[in-house]
Structure formats: structure tokens, C-alpha cells
């Protein structure tokens, strides 16, 4: 459950102060598939980053399953991300010198043995292989990102995001660099994973294909919440 309360995020650009998120309040239930949409500069990526603890809140709060993000320090945010969140980026952000399997296994590196045990992982290599299998990339383990298509790279990125069994998946424009066929494949995959594992998926996107594949659309304009509709 994600509770956003009177959230504000401001940036300083020169002498000017920009209010990227302007007093937003909303709730997202566990297992929901939600899209945050809006024109460029509306604040959708900023909102996603704040939920993902990748940026600092100026005022207000985000409470995820009773954890207050605003009150966390850097170390606590890092620990929280490790065990609860998964990220999918527009440009995949895979490490080019690692194979697909190694890229997925990389997700386990920040975790201690105890943390691995808490999420039920005893063999990280095996878990990474299974994640790749779940996204339809069995047999592609040894290929490096340069040897994969855009769609395949995004699927590796999804495998990396889900391998730690996060409660929330945050996807920033996941289909922006893909053709329509791959976009649909990725969206279908994410929906399937969400329903099977009760993962909350939050997209940041203005892609119509994405908006058609979600349960709820939250529309932002100039940092404000202008519409929140179920699909």
C-alpha cells in the first residue's frame, strides 16, 4: 500500500524555484497496476523517483506499507530499496560488460547472506536463471546486452527488477525505446508478473499502449494531480 500525503518537491534552477510536484495526495493499493501520465515536464518521472526513494522529498510524505520515506536517511533508503523495490528504466541500463545472467545476478550483490535468506534465495545463480526463464529468455544467459535486441534487453532489465521479489515495481517509460510488438510483449509480461506475485506496478508513461494496459491512470499537469481514473 502506497500512501502519498501532501507531497511537494521543489528544485532550484539558478535563482528560480521550480515546483516539480505540487501538493499531491493519493493512495495505491497492493497489487494494483497504475500509470502516472502527463505531458513532458508534468512531474511524472519526479513522482516515480520520489516513490522509489531515488530523490529527496521537500515536504509531505510517502508511506509504503507503514514505512515513512520522508523520515528515512540515505542508508535506510538504500536498505529499503534493496528489499522492497524493483526498477525498470527506459534505456534498460544494463551493464554492457556483463552477460544477461550476470546482469540479473547483480541485483543480489548488495544483499547480505541474511537478507538473501529472508527472501528465500539460497542460490543466486539459479534464481537469476529462473528470472530469465520467467521473462522468456531461457538460453540467452551468456549473451551480453550488445548481442540482444531492445525488447530482449528490456526483458533482462525486468528479470533483474523482479528477481528479488519486490513488493513494488517502478517502470519509467519502459516501452519508449521499443517497437509496438515488443511494447505489447513487455506490458503483457509485467501484467502477468504482477497478477502472479501480487506486485504493485507503477508506470511513468504517456504511451497510449501502456495506458490501455493498466487498471488506473493518474494524470499530472505542472506537478499537480488533475485526474485519477480507473480503466
Amino acid at each position: 500500500m502506497v500512501e502519498i500525503k501532501s507531497l511537494v518537491k521543489t528544485y532550484k534552477t539558478g535563482d528560480e524555484e521550480v515546483r516539480a510536484i505540487d501538493d499531491i495526495s493519493l493512495n495505491i493499493k497492493q497489487g494494483e497496476i497504475v500509470a502516472i501520465s502527463g505531458a513532458s515536464g508534468s512531474g511524472k518521472t519526479t513522482l516515480l523517483n520520489l516513490i522509489g526513494t531515488l530523490d529527496n522529498i521537500t515536504s509531505g510524505d510517502i508511506i509504503i506499507n507503514e514505512h515513512s520515506i520522508a523520515s528515512m536517511n540515505e542508508k535506510e533508503k538504500t536498505n529499503y530499496r534493496k528489499l522492497n523495490l524493483g526498477f525498470i528504466f527506459q534505456s534498460y541500463n544494463l551493464i554492457p560488460v556483463l552477460s544477461a545472467l550476470e546482469n540479473v545476478e547483480l541485483a543480489f550483490q548488495p544483499l547480505s547472506k541474511q537478507e538473501l535468506a529472508e527472501i528465500g534465495i539460497s542460490d543466486t545463480k539459479l534464481a537469476a536463471k529462473e528470472a530469465l526463464k520467467a521473462v522468456g529468455l531461457e538460453g540467452y544467459e551468456e549473451r551480453r546486452p550488445g548481442q540482444l535486441s531492445g525488447g530482449q534487453q528490456q526483458r533482462v532489465s525486468i528479470a533483474r527488477a523482479i528477481v528479488r521479489k519486490p513488493k513494488i515495481l517502478l517502470a519509467d517509460e519502459p516501452t519508449a525505446n521499443l517497437d509496438s510488438k515488443n511494447s505489447l510483449l513487455i506490458l503483457a509480461l509485467l501484467s502477468k508478473l504482477s497478477h502472479e506475485n501480487k506486485i504493485t506496478v507503477i508506470y511513468s508513461s504517456h504511451d497510449q499502449e501502456v495506458l490501455k494496459n493498466v487498471e488506473r491512470v493518474i494524470i499530472l499537469k505542472d506537478g499537480k494531480l488533475v485526474e485519477d481514473k480507473k480503466c
Binding site: 519526479t46 523517483n49 522509489g52 531515488l54 530523490d55 529527496n56 540515505e74 542508508k75 538504500t78 536498505n79 530499496r81 534493496k82 528489499l83 526498477f87 528504466f89 534505456s91 541500463n93 551493464i95 554492457p96 560488460v97 556483463l98 547483480l106 541485483a107 550483490q109 548488495p110 544483499l111 533483474r160
Partner: protein
């Protein structure tokens, strides 16, 4: 740790050209530093050994008041015959090889029948005990012609003196010198031998006469200007031996160790060591700047990757560590290859030496007591400490530019691309 190591190695391989250039910079620093360090140490070691083996021995005993004026070779201050005998007996009892020497500034005069003219050359006369001198110095082993005082009234010349004055064994020369109490004396002597030692200063400026011959001409009455002492290991000298000798001979005489006796030469050599160290430090700084630059570029290029790693839960510290590991690996590879190459260079160099005879004249006084064929010393500490220093500098050079990126917010890292 192993996974971080694998990632760092792969990242180094990712930018092959840049990595190779940086490794070469470290390699050159280590290679040049080690070889130059070996050469400077070689110069220092050879000079020190030659000073001790041919000029001043490990410890020199003087009459009180002589040491401060030793560069003037005062003839009125010297160890009396009785004191010398007593000191020598005590040193013999302590099993410390010792020999008396008389030193004076003198003039060597020769006459050329061909040119019908006289030639004068200022030399340092060294009166030696022909038997005991062999136990402390290696002058007698350096004869290249003639013999070691087989007859009376003989003089042994340094090779450069003989060359300059066109003298050979059997020639007669006149030596004008100063005796005890400062009176002038002229001696006619036959050239009995010519020495060509490892110490060019001896070859250029010293002549040797048997002390027993000098004793009667110069009224030394068994005395000498100094007693040279060795503990049988000419390449090792220490202040401890001087202290030991001082205790043996008592307070009437002064015992000085070779560094005190040759403080000017030692200061020049230490100064050279210091300036070569500074030069080598600059070399390391240049290599370090190269590594820093490489790291800055790597950090800039991998901003999004770093942001992704932070999003995955990698701490700031672990990301900085990845880059520092890359810098360290670069340093290790460069240092190891540099040290290995230095060994390959120095082994033949230490055998055959660097020949400067074509560049420098043998009569040039470069301050060092060594021939113009330079041989480095294989000093194991250089092969350990210089590479370690290179690796440490590499790590530090990587750390500082990367440290700042660790402080940036994740969202900023994504945004700045």
C-alpha cells in the same frame, strides 16, 4: 568481493586503449624509478666502498686538533711515535686491523730530457706501512705495474699521475714535501710501481712512499698523521666501530668514522639522492594525474550505470570502491610489469655497467669515488617499495575524483545524462 573484482576487470577491458595508456604510465614510472634508484644507490655504494677501501678506511684516528684542519694537512699536528705505538698495540689486542699513515700536500717534480724542462704536479703524499697497509686498504692490490716497495726510496704513483707526467717504473722523480714541525724536505725517489685503483681520486692525486723511508727524511720519530682502522669488512662501516675504537685508544686521540671524515662527499651524494627522489616523485605525480583523468572520464561515462547500481541498492561507498578497485588494478598491473622490466634491465646493467667514458673525462672530478662505468645496485627494497608506492598512488588517484560522484543524488545522476 570477487564479483566486484570481476566487474572492475571487465570495465578495465572495456576501455582497452585508455587502460593500456594508464598502465604504461605507471609501468614507466616504476621502471624508471627502480632503475634510477638502483643507479644512484650503486653510485653511493661503490663510492662508499672505494672511500673505505682506498682513502679513509672505516675509522680514522687523529691527534686531537687535527680533524678540524684535516683539509689543510697540517704537519705540526700529528700522532707521536709513543702514542701511535700504544694505540696500535691496543687495537691489535682488540683484533682490529690498523695501519699508520702520514699525509701531506707535496709537489712531484720530473725532468724531461727531450723537452729540457721540469714538470710540477701537486699531489697528496701518503706514507704507508708497507705490511700493515695491506690489512686495511686495497692499494697494494691495485698495482698495474711494478711492485709494492720491494726496495728502499721508492715511490708508487697513481696511474693518472704517471700518465700525465709520462712516468714509468724505474724513472726518478723528486718529491718536495713538508716534514714534522713544518720544515720543507726534498726527496729523490725511484718509481717502484703504478697503481690503477677503482677510486679515480686516488689515481689522479695520490703518491705512496714507505713510511719507514719517510720517517728518517721527515723526522717523524715513529709518528704519523693518522691511524686507519678496519674491522675486516670494508664494505660495512658504522659509528659503533668508531665508538668502540675511541674506548680502546682513550681520550688523547680522536676516532672518527668515515662519514665524518668525508662529510662533504657524503653530503654531495645524499644531495644527489634527494634530488633524484624529487625527480622520481614528479614522475609518479604525472602518472597519478593520468589515472585521475582516466577515472574522471570513466565516472562521467558511467553516470547512468552508477545511478542504476544505486537504485539496485549499492551504497555510495561500494560504487566508489568499484572505481578505486579499477585504479588499484591498473596500478598493480603497471607496477608488476614495471618491476619485472626493471629487473631485466638491471641484471645486465649490474654486470656490464653504463659506460660514460665517451661522455666524461676520467680526470673530471664528479665527486663520486667511482670509475666512469656505472653499475646499479640490486636493492630488493626498491623492487618492493616502489611498486607498493605506485599502487597506493594509483588507488588514491582513483579515489579523489570518484569520491565526489558518490555524493550525488541518484535522480540527479539520471537527470544529468
Amino acid at each position: 568481493m570477487l564479483k566486484s573484482l570481476k566487474l572492475s576487470i571487465r570495465n578495465l577491458a572495456r576501455y582497452k586503449t585508455r587502460t593500456i595508456i594508464t598502465i604504461v604510465a605507471v609501468l614507466i614510472s616504476v621502471l624508471v624509478s627502480t632503475v634510477v634508484d638502483g643507479l644512484v644507490r650503486g653510485m653511493f655504494t661503490i663510492s662508499t666502498n672505494n672511500l673505505i677501501a682506498y682513502e679513509s678506511s672505516e675509522v680514522t684516528i687523529y691527534q686531537k686538533g687535527y680533524f678540524e684542519k684535516r683539509d689543510e694537512y697540517p704537519s705540526d699536528i700529528f700522532i707521536s711515535g709513543d702514542l701511535l705505538q700504544e694505540a696500535s698495540e691496543r687495537l691489535d689486542k682488540a683484533e682490529l686491523p690498523n695501519t699508520p699513515r702520514y699525509k701531506a700536500i707535496s709537489e712531484l717534480i720530473t725532468y724531461s730530457e727531450e723537452e729540457e724542462s721540469e714538470f710540477y704536479l701537486n699531489v697528496i703524499l701518503v706514507g704507508v706501512d708497507k705490511e700493515r697497509d695491506k690489512n686495511v686498504f686495497r692499494i697494494s692490490e691495485s698495482l698495474c705495474d711494478g711492485s709494492w716497495f720491494e726496495n728502499e726510496d721508492e715511490i708508487i704513483l697513481g696511474s693518472k699521475i704517471a700518465e700525465k707526467l709520462n712516468l714509468k717504473v724505474g724513472d726518478i722523480v723528486t718529491l718536495s714535501t713538508t716534514g714534522a714541525m713544518g720544515f720543507a724536505e726534498t726527496l729523490d725517489l725511484e718509481v717502484g710501481g703504478i697503481i690503477n685503483s677503482e677510486d679515480p681520486q686516488v689515481n689522479m692525486s695520490q703518491v705512496f712512499v714507505n713510511l719507514s723511508d719517510l720517517d728518517s727524511y721527515l723526522l717523524l720519530k715513529g709518528g704519523a698523521t693518522e691511524i686507519a682502522v678496519s674491522d675486516g669488512m670494508p664494505s660495512v662501516a658504522s659509528k659503533k666501530l668508531a665508538d668502540k675504537v675511541q674506548k680502546i685508544i682513550g681520550p688523547e686521540l680522536d676516532a672518527k668514522y668515515y662519514e665524518e671524515v668525508n662529510e662533504d662527499i657524503i653530503a654531495i651524494m645524499n644531495g644527489d639522492k634527494g634530488s633524484s627522489f624529487i625527480m622520481l616523485l614528479f614522475l609518479f605525480i604525472i602518472a597519478a594525474a593520468g589515472i585521475s583523468n582516466t577515472m574522471i572520464m570513466a565516472v562521467m561515462e558511467r553516470r547512468k550505470e552508477n545511478a542504476m547500481l544505486r537504485a539496485l541498492g549499492f551504497s555510495r561507498r561500494s560504487i566508489v570502491s568499484l572505481f578505486v578497485l579499477e585504479g588499484t588494478l591498473t596500478g598493480i598491473i603497471g607496477a608488476l610489469i614495471g618491476a619485472l622490466l626493471a629487473l631485466f634491465v638491471m641484471i645486465p646493467l649490474s654486470k656490464y655497467g653504463l659506460d660514460f667514458t665517451a661522455l666524461l673525462s676520467e680526470e673530471m672530478d664528479i665527486g663520486y669515488r667511482m670509475p666512469l662505468i656505472l653499475r646499479p645496485t640490486l636493492f630488493w627494497q626498491s623492487f618492493v617499495f616502489i611498486p607498493i608506492l605506485a599502487v597506493l598512488l594509483s588507488s588514491l588517484s582513483a579515489f579523489f575524483p570518484v569520491y565526489k560522484t558518490g555524493k550525488e543524488e541518484i535522480a540527479d545522476l539520471f537527470r544529468r545524462m
